[in-house]
Symmetry: C2
Subunit: 108 residues, 2 copies
């Protein structure tokens, strides 16, 4: 529900620096139209729009039309998937375990 058509992997959506910057800008400002987002990037309006579409396909931004402008806002909820994923591997870098694993390797 909520998403029509294509769906996009959240990991993929977040992989590009431009899109992470978009997320940051939207997090700070709450809601912004395309023409206010564009000047923050070294590229044209169309390119920024496409990045926003990708974020939208991943469920990371939502859209509201106000007059002639389209306001984009962050929906961070899908990031939960990333947090869950990375949390699982956090046990592999806790400093104690890291030292332990290194020791075990030397034994072999």
């Amino acid at each position: 529900m909520g998403d029509n058509g294509e769906m996009r992997d959240v990991f993929d959506a977040v992989a590009h620096p431009t899109r992470r910057r978009l997320i940051q800008l939207l997090a700070e400002a709450g809601e912004l139209p395309l023409h206010e987002l564009t000047p923050h990037f070294p590229m044209g309006r169309t390119a920024v729009s496409k990045h926003l579409t990708i974020l939208k396909e991943a469920g990371l931004v939502e859209v509201r039309k106000v007059g002639r402008e389209t306001r984009y806002r962050l929906n961070a909820a899908p990031l939960q998937e990333i947090q869950d994923w990375v949390a699982y591997y956090s046990k592999f870098w806790s400093s104690n375990l890291m030292r332990l694993r290194k020791l075990l390797e030397e034994e072999e």
Copy 2:
């Protein structure tokens, strides 16, 4: 340090399903050579090798040569960057804040 030559964005390295699966396999097994990793994927040895190279460039896997095989093992530490990044945005999806933000939007 420890990385020579090209460096690779961790977000980018983790964006591809094949590479996340590689991380999982290495996390479970501790250390595996290429020819044991390959059969888990619907692609050839060369392709898997390239994915491992990308993970290596991101510092996510380390390598040890044992006889004629190259053993790959996970170094999860770079994932910390992702965890830090996503932790910042977690405040935007905590259920209380989500409800609050929605209310504020309706006011406007």
